[in-house]
Amino acid sequence: MSISVMLNGKQTVLEKTETIGDLLREKGLEHNKVVVEVNRNIIKQHQFEQFTIKNGDKVEVLRFVGGG
């Protein structure tokens, strides 16, 4: 069953229920180079494979970029 989430500020449909680990793999992102927040709670890297994204969640995936 597909779910709808707010992913980095954009309404996004995920084809099936998935974990943060699944999402990062789909996007080709390394676990240790991103930080993830779900509904304003930071999800620790070691929880990525267990944490399931739910319908309506607000998911932020961030990383370091160049800055002064």
Binding site: K33, E60, L62, R63, F64, V65
Partner: protein, 258 residues
């Protein structure tokens, strides 16, 4: 020449280089390692942003040698609460607990909001962060930041990216003279001579980004800034000779031609 016993100590950590650089605005991030080598920097700043899934880019961490200390900033924050949120996200990256507080509401001059910066500093110090607040050079605010436990204060020389140098020189000098924690001049330093002037005045370090990243040859410019910061520091330690309005002869004025 390296001066003995002149390391900068922040939060118990010995920092060999008094030049801190940013990692933004490079036309090619592959330059960053060579810039850090030429500048002999120990500390580099980074920012935190959402990943753009439509335009994936290589992580900035891939371009920063592992032995460098990361100083993430809270750029994008408009309030203390947002700065605290970004700081916690940065910490969750697992790259340490140092944070540059940057709270900006003003989009024209990008001048920091000292009041929100003080609030964020107070919260983050209590949570164990080593806090480097970027601030408008105001002594009362600097004192409050020190009272809150800031590891350093970082007054601006001129607006971010303006390259206009030490427009706030007198105010920074007051902070240097009155504040016990390291004073790092951050923003506005556009030329090596600006950096040297700040260091001659007694600043503990310089933080700059645009002046190197937007120069024609960032690696050569990094070297120039390294030399300038060292020269300015050496001059400060040597004690500058006094100034006077009138001339004072350098050669003996013996009177055989009289």
């Amino acid at each position: 020449m390296r001066m003995k016993d002149d390391d900068l100590i922040i939060a118990g950590k010995k920092i060999r280089s008094r030049l801190i650089t940013g990692s933004g605005k490079y036309c090619n991030d592959r330059l960053i390692k060579d810039v850090l080598d030429a500048a002999e920097c120990d500390i580099i700043t980074v920012a935190m942003r959402r990943i753009d899934f439509d335009r994936p880019q290589e992580s900035i961490l891939n371009f920063i040698p592992k032995d460098k200390t990361l100083l993430p900033n809270t750029s994008g924050a408009r309030s203390a609460d947002e700065a605290v949120r970004i700081a916690k996200l940065a910490q969750a990256m697992g790259c340490g607990n140092w944070i540059k507080i940057e709270v900006i509401n003003d989009q024209k001059y990008l001048l920091p909001d000292n009041i929100e910066t003080i609030k964020a500093t107070e919260v983050l110090v209590k949570e164990g962060f080593v806090v480097f607040p970027y601030m408008c050079p105001d002594l009362a605010s600097a004192r409050r930041l020190v009272d809150c436990g800031a590891a350093a204060v970082m007054p601006l020389g001129a607006p971010i990216g303006s390259n206009r140098g030490l427009q706030t020189k007198d105010m920074i000098e007051i902070i240097i003279n009155e504040i016990s924690v390291p004073v790092i001049v951050d923003a506005g330093i556009g030329r090596p001579s600006h950096a040297a002037a700040a260091m001659e005045m007694g600043a503990d370090a310089i933080l700059l980004n645009t002046a190197i990243a937007a120069s024609e040859d960032p690696v050569k410019m990094a070297y120039a800034f390294k030399c300038a910061v060292k020269a300015g520091r050496a001059a400060y330690k040597a004690g500058l000779a006094g100034e006077s309005y009138f001339a004072s002869a350098s050669s003996p004025l013996t009177g055989f031609l009289s």
